[in-house]
C-alpha cells in the first residue's frame, strides 16, 4: 500500500501543493487527473524522492518510504529522457542495475522487455537513432526493467501511437494484476475510465474528488433517462424537473421514480429506463468548476 499523505509544497510565491493525499492499494490502478499546473507532476516527483516536500510524508506498507524501497519503484517522468548516445539494450540494462539488479538479471530482463516491445533488432542502436515512438517504448522499458513493486507514471500515454497506448495499458494492468499499486496521471479521460479502479482529481494543489470509479459515478448520478414509444407528451405529467434529450425524457430531482415508471408504462412501451452515469470527463468538469 502506497500512501501519499498531506503534501505541501511551495515554489516561491506559488503554492503548488496544499495538502495532497492519495493512496494506492496493491493491485489498484489509480488515475490522477487535473488541469495543467494543478500539481500532479509535483506530487509524483515528491513521491519518487526527486523533489523534497515542505511537509507531509510518503508511507509504504505502513512505514515511511526508504531509499532502498524507492529503488524498486518504477517511474516515468513527464519530461522523458534517455542517453541519446548509448545503445538501447545497454541503456535498459543499465537502469536495471541502478535499480539493484545484478548484471545478468538486468541483461536478461532488458532482453525480454525489448522483445515484448518489438525492439530486439534495435538493441544495438543508439537511442538517438530510433524513431520518437520507439524512444517512448524504450522509456517504458526503462521504467519496467527492474520488475517494479510500485509504478508511478506521469502522463505515460502522452505522445504514444495507438499501438503503444495498448502496450502501455496492458503493461499497467499486468503490473497491477501482479499486485503492484499503480498511479498514473493522464489527460485522456477515456483511458482513465477504461484502466483505473479509482480516480483522484486535483485542482490548484488540492484533491477535490477521489474514490472508486464506480462509486464516483454513482455518487454523481442525478438524472433518470426514460424512452417511451408514445405519441403523448409526458413532459408535464412526470413528477420532477423534466427536459427532453431527443426523444428521451430526462427526469431530475424526481420525488418518486416508481411513479415515473408507472406513468411511462401507461403511456406506451418503455425501451429504456435507467439512471444516466456521468463519464469521468463529466465528473472531472463538475469537480473542477465547483
Amino acid at each position: 500500500m502506497l500512501e501519499i499523505k498531506d503534501l505541501h509544497k511551495r515554489f516561491g510565491d506559488t503554492l503548488a501543493l496544499d495538502g495532497v493525499s492519495l493512496s494506492a492499494a496493491p493491485g489498484e490502478v489509480v488515475g490522477f487527473v487535473g488541469a495543467n499546473g494543478a500539481g500532479k507532476t509535483t506530487t509524483m516527483r515528491i513521491a519518487m524522492g526527486v523533489l523534497a516536500a515542505d511537509s507531509g510524508q510518503i508511507v509504504y506498507d505502513g512505514a515511511p518510504l526508504g531509499v532502498e524501497q524507492r529503488r524498486r519503484f518504477g517511474y516515468m517522468p513527464s519530461e522523458r529522457g534517455l542517453y541519446p548516445k548509448m545503445k538501447t539494450g545497454e541503456q535498459v540494462a543499465y537502469f536495471g542495475e541502478l535499480h539493484g539488479m545484478s548484471k545478468t538479471e538486468a541483461r536478461r530482463s532488458a532482453g525480454e522487455l525489448l522483445e515484448q516491445l518489438n525492439l530486439t533488432d534495435r538493441a544495438g542502436d543508439f537511442v538517438q537513432d530510433l524513431s520518437l515512438g520507439n524512444q517512448q517504448r524504450v522509456q517504458l522499458a526503462v521504467s519496467l526493467v527492474h520488475d517494479p513493486e510500485v509504478l508511478i507514471l506521469d502522463e505515460p500515454f502522452s505522445g504514444l501511437d495507438p499501438i503503444a497506448v495498448d502496450v502501455m495499458g496492458a503493461a499497467l494492468r499486468d503490473r497491477a494484476a501482479a499486485g503492484a499499486p499503480v498511479i498514473f496521471s493522464s489527460h485522456q479521460l477515456d483511458l482513465i475510465e477504461r484502466l483505473c479502479d479509482s480516480v483522484s482529481i486535483i485542482g490548484n494543489g488540492k484533491i477535490i474528488a477521489a474514490g472508486g470509479v464506480e462509486e464516483l459515478k454513482a455518487k454523481e448520478v442525478k438524472q433518470l433517462r426514460v424512452s417511451v414509444e408514445t405519441d403523448e407528451d409526458l413532459t408535464g405529467r412526470l413528477p420532477g424537473t423534466v427536459t427532453r434529450d431527443g426523444d428521451d425524457y430526462l427526469v431530475e430531482d424526481s420525488p418518486d421514480d416508481q411513479e415515473v415508471l408507472r406513468i411511462a408504462a401507461a403511456a406506451g412501451r418503455i425501451t429504456r429506463f435507467a439512471y444516466d452515469q456521468p463519464t469521468i470527463a463529466e465528473i472531472f468538469r463538475e469537480a473542477v468548476t465547483r
Binding site: V50, G81, Y83
Partner: protein, 400 residues
C-alpha cells in the same frame, strides 16, 4: 541492533555500487567510444615516434670524432678520454688533421693551438674541447716548468664540490631539468583540461536530455556527480599510463632509457598524486557549474572561469620554469588552484623545501574538499532546474 548494523552495511555497499555503476558507464560509453579509442591510438603512436626519434637521428653511439696533432696531442687525448663522448684519432701533422676535417673523417681537429672544423662545432663539444685544451696546456706548461708527472697529477686533482642544501630535508628529489618540468606542466594541463570539459558536457547532457530525473530516483546527486568525476579520472589515467608506458617502452627498446634524468620515476609518481587532488578540485567544480545550465550551447559561459584558471595555472608554471627560485615561483606553487600544476613543475626543476610541499599539498587538498562541497551543492540544487542559466548565488539560495 544487529539488523540495524546490517542494514547500514547494506546501504553502504549499495551507495558504493551506485557510484561505481555511474563511473563504469562513463568509462564504457566515453572511454571506449570510437573517438576516444582513436585519439588514444593516435596519441600513443605520436609518443612512440617521439620517443624513438633520438635513436633514429642520433646516428651511431653519438661519440664526437676528433682529430689531434702536435705536441699537446697526448695530453689532449688523456683529457678527452677522461671526459668521454669522444672518438679520438691522432694524426702525425697538423696538415693531415686539417685534411681529415676536410674529408669528413673527423668532425673537428685540434692542432698547433687551432681548432679546425667545417662550420663550427656544437656548444657542448666546444666547451669540452676548450676545457680539455686548458687542462692539457696547464699540464704541458707544468711539465716544461720541471714538475714530475706525480706532482702534476697532485696539482691537478680537484675534489668535486659537495652540495649542501640548507632548507631541504629528507625525501625531496633532486632537481631534474627544464625539459622534465615542461613535460610535467603540459601533461598536467592536458590531463585536467580534457576531462574537466567532458564532465561539464556530461552533466549538461543529462540535464538537457532530462534523463537526470529518472537517474535521481535511484541515485543521490553526489553519486551521480562523483561517479562521473571518477569515471573520467580513470579514463584520463589510463590514457596517461598508456602514453608513459609506450614512451618508456620505446626508450627502453632503443636503449635510450638510461639517458633519462635520475628521479624521473619518482617525479612521475608524485605528479600523479598532485593530479589526483587537482582533478578532484577542477572536476567537481566543473560538474557543479555544468549543472547551472540546461543546454550544451550555454556550458561554455559557465566553464570560462574554470578554463581561465587552468590556463593561468599552466602559463604560470611555464613562467616558473624560467625562474624556479623566484618568490613568484614559491607563491604560485603554494596557492591553490595554481599550485596543482605549479608545484609538480617546480619540484621537477628545483629543490623545494619539504614544508612548502606539505603546505601546498594541504592547501590544495583543502581547496579540493571545498570544491567538492560547493560543486555537489550546486549540482544538487540546480540539476533538476530547467530554464535559463542560473547564477551560482541563486543556486545556493534554492532549497535542494
Amino acid at each position: 541492533m544487529t539488523a540495524q548494523r546490517n542494514q547500514a552495511r547494506h546501504d553502504e555497499t549499495s551507495r558504493m555500487r551506485g557510484l561505481m555503476l555511474v563511473a563504469g558507464r562513463e568509462i564504457r560509453v566515453r572511454g571506449l567510444s570510437k573517438s576516444n579509442v582513436i585519439s588514444l591510438i593516435v596519441t600513443v603512436l605520436i609518443v612512440g615516434v617521439l620517443a624513438a626519434l633520438p635513436s633514429l637521428f642520433g646516428g651511431d653511439d653519438g661519440d664526437e670524432k676528433i682529430g689531434l696533432a702536435g705536441p699537446t696531442a697526448a695530453a689532449m687525448q688523456t683529457q678527452l678520454d677522461a671526459m668521454g663522448g669522444f672518438d679520438v684519432t691522432v694524426f702525425d701533422s697538423a696538415g693531415e688533421a686539417e685534411q681529415a676535417v676536410e674529408d669528413e673523417t673527423v668532425e673537428a681537429a685540434v692542432a698547433d693551438g687551432s681548432l679546425y672544423s667545417r662550420d663550427g662545432v656544437g656548444n657542448e663539444t666546444e666547451a669540452k674541447i676548450d676545457a680539455a685544451w686548458q687542462a692539457a696546456s696547464v699540464q704541458t706548461n707544468l711539465a716544461s716548468a720541471g714538475l714530475s708527472d706525480q706532482e702534476i697529477a697532485g696539482a691537478l686533482t680537484v675534489q668535486p664540490l659537495e652540495w649542501v642544501t640548507l632548507e631541504s630535508e629528507g625525501g625531496v628529489t633532486g632537481p631534474l631539468d627544464y625539459f622534465t618540468g615542461l613535460i610535467i606542466s603540459v601533461i598536467m594541463f592536458m590531463m585536467l583540461m580534457t576531462p574537466v570539459q567532458y564532465i561539464a558536457m556530461g552533466v549538461v547532457e543529462e540535464k538537457s536530455s532530462r534523463i537526470v530525473e529518472i537517474l535521481l530516483t535511484s541515485l543521490k546527486p553526489w553519486q551521480l556527480l562523483g561517479g562521473k568525476v571518477i569515471g573520467l579520472g580513470v579514463i584520463s589515467l589510463v590514457n596517461l599510463i598508456a602514453m608513459v608506458a609506450v614512451g618508456l617502452g620505446v626508450s627502453a627498446a632503443t636503449g635510450m632509457l638510461s639517458d633519462l634524468p635520475p628521479g624521473t620515476a619518482s617525479a612521475a609518481v608524485s605528479t600523479i598524486g598532485w593530479w589526483l587532488i587537482a582533478f578532484a578540485l577542477f572536476g567537481t567544480l566543473a560538474g557543479g557549474v555544468g549543472s547551472l545550465v540546461s543546454r550544451q550551447e550555454e556550458s561554455g559561459s559557465v566553464l570560462t572561469p574554470l578554463i581561465m584558471s587552468l590556463t593561468l595555472s599552466y602559463l604560470g608554471a611555464i613562467f616558473l620554469l624560467n625562474a624556479p627560485t623566484s618568490t613568484f615561483a614559491e607563491v604560485l606553487s603554494i596557492v591553490p588552484p595554481f599550485s596543482g600544476i605549479a608545484m609538480p613543475t617546480r619540484m621537477a626543476i628545483a629543490d623545494v623545501p619539504a614544508w612548502q610541499i606539505g603546505l601546498s599539498g594541504v592547501l590544495l587538498a583543502l581547496a579540493a574538499a571545498g570544491a567538492l562541497a560547493l560543486g555537489s551543492q550546486l549540482y544538487k540544487r540546480s540539476v533538476l532546474y530547467t530554464g535559463s542559466r542560473m547564477k551560482i548565488s541563486e543556486a545556493l539560495r534554492r532549497s535542494a
